[in-house]
Amino acid sequence: MAVSATDSGARNIVDGGRAARYGLRTVALGYLGLLLVIPVALIFYKAFEDGFAVAWEAVTTPEAQHAIYLTVLMVVISIPITTVFGIAAALVIVRQRFRGRALLNAAIDMPFAISPVVIGLSLVLLYGSRDGWFGQDLAAAGIEVIFTPVGMALATMFVALPFVVREVIPVLQEIGDDQEQAASTLGAGPWQTFWRITLPSIRWGVTYGVVLATARALGEFGAVAVVSGRISGSTETMPLYLRRLFDTFNVSGAYAAAVVLALLALTVLFAMNFIQRRDRAILAGPSVATEPGAVVPHLDVTDDKENPR
């Protein structure tokens, strides 16, 4: 009975909506094509318009090499710290009950709501060597933050901060703490429980967060632009280098730099895609449900019980 109802219902939707469905598909794919595919394909075309040699030259000058090196350095410094913080913060938010927990949870999202330029400004106000809150003391101690890679790393850590936390929290909520409790009852210490139980079950969430944070760190422009002073060959990352090439009318050079960044982005995209598939394979195991859907299997069970009656 249920089956026939489903069948006719589905056919009804299909019959009534075939034109609408194709229309919707065209609109959706057309929008994506115009906004995403054509523009991104175009950078590759533009970069090699004047020949491969020109593009190659633009991204192999000493300045470009330094920019690539500095971009990678920013990722290498900021991402490990962000990852450790992200896992710890997610554990604190999900596993602990304390006053101000909601506030902590909300505060972690702040970097999403703050303009990168404002992030840069805030660091200048704190660490600027002339009139920053700590800048003068640090300068007296011989530490320069603004206009150096130190400040750029701080800016990168600021913008990358929420990604790992946000990816790990739902996973932690989903796996619950039964296994951790069991391990601890069986005599495992907190660290042992963490390495043996918690970390293995959240590893794909962590990885996904790391990939997102890396993408952001590689491409950050606004915050780093304010903090770095954009000294070429010294505090210029790849995105800043691209901007300067463009401003100095080396347009094909700018496109070549864009290709380098776009290739990095596509690698990131590929990694995201791969992780998601792994994640889904794991989730498709015994417990399928993500948070709100936990209700659905229960409904199915009651349905099955009612049907024979």
Binding site: A113, A215, T290
Partner: protein
């Protein structure tokens, strides 16, 4: 390792106790400390600096005609972008979940591209396409407000889609089928059954897209041309103020910008929670 196991085994079995004290407290302290140092303190510095010259100076900085024009453009274009995102984002999420066509998985992973692509590249890309010497040769989009909206649409594309998709996946098609078998038309089904279920997710995605639009900088510096009173958004205005040494004025406008995006996030969170409660 075995030593640790022995030592803990000797202790009286009180697992709940260990979870609440010592180590966890330290972790919490470190987390709060890091967040305070990295985020809260810098934001406090911006707020304090904005008021350094008193309320009068703050107001002067914020109500300067160029600052007002920039704020207006920022908010209006963000609202336009959010509206477009809500419609197309929901449609794309729908097609990606309910429709079947070859290459669907490829299209699905493509949606994340704006998250992965550096914003400056996004700006360059749009300039290549719609700029004066652009391939499409559509003149008058670069260095115009339309260009601003285009850039914002590019960088905010994934928010609504990625927020709606999981909810749509969970949504049981049986309800829609039941409605259809009772004679409801597709549009009615969408309006009465699908939309109410998706609304909280749409709103949540829209809030993130709005917050991102309000603060966006990297994708706009190239395509907008940064013409004061014309295509200069607030983040670009703040950047200019910093460059010319007006940190107090930059801080004042920053505070307003921050208040807009945080306020919007808060408001929409509230709305979303009410809708969730209403729906269940």
């Amino acid at each position: 390792m075995s030593q640790g196991a022995v030592a803990t085994a000797k202790a009286p079995p009180r697992p709940g106790h260990r979870l609440g004290l010592g180590g966890p407290g330290l972790t919490r302290g470190l987390v709060v400390g890091y967040l305070s140092l990295m985020v809260l303190l810098p934001v406090a510095a911006v707020a304090a600096t904005s008021l350094e010259g008193g309320i009068g100076a703050f107001w002067d900085a914020v109500s300067a005609p160029q600052a007002v024009a920039a704020l207006k453009l920022t908010v209006i274009s963000s609202l336009i972008v959010v509206a477009i995102n809500v419609v197309f984002g929901t449609a794309i999420a729908w097609v990606l979940v309910r429709d079947q066509f070859p290459g669907k998985r490829f299209v699905n992973s493509l949606v994340d591209l704006p998250f992965a692509l550096p914003t400056i590249v996004a700006g360059l890309v749009l300039l290549a396409l719609y700029g004066e010497t652009g391939i499409l040769g559509i003149e008058g989009i670069s260095f115009t407000r339309v260009g601003v909206v285009m850039a914002l649409l590019f960088v905010t594309l994934p928010f609504v889609i990625r927020s709606v998709q999981p909810v749509l996946l969970e949504l049981d098609a049986e309800m829609e089928e039941a409605a259809a078998s009772l004679g409801a038309r597709p549009l009615t089904i969408f309006r009465r059954i699908v939309l109410p279920n998706l609304a909280p997710a749409i709103v949540a995605g829209a809030a993130l897209a709005f917050a991102r639009s309000v603060g966006e900088f990297g994708s706009l510096v190239l395509i907008s041309g940064n013409i004061p009173f014309e295509t200069e958004v607030s983040s670009v205005y703040i950047f200019g103020q910093i460059e010319s040494g007006n940190t107090e004025s930059a801080a004042a406008v920053s505070v307003v910008l921050l208040a807009i995006s945080v306020g919007m996030l808060f408001l929409i969170n509230l709305l979303g929670r009410r809708m969730l409660r209403h729906g269940s």
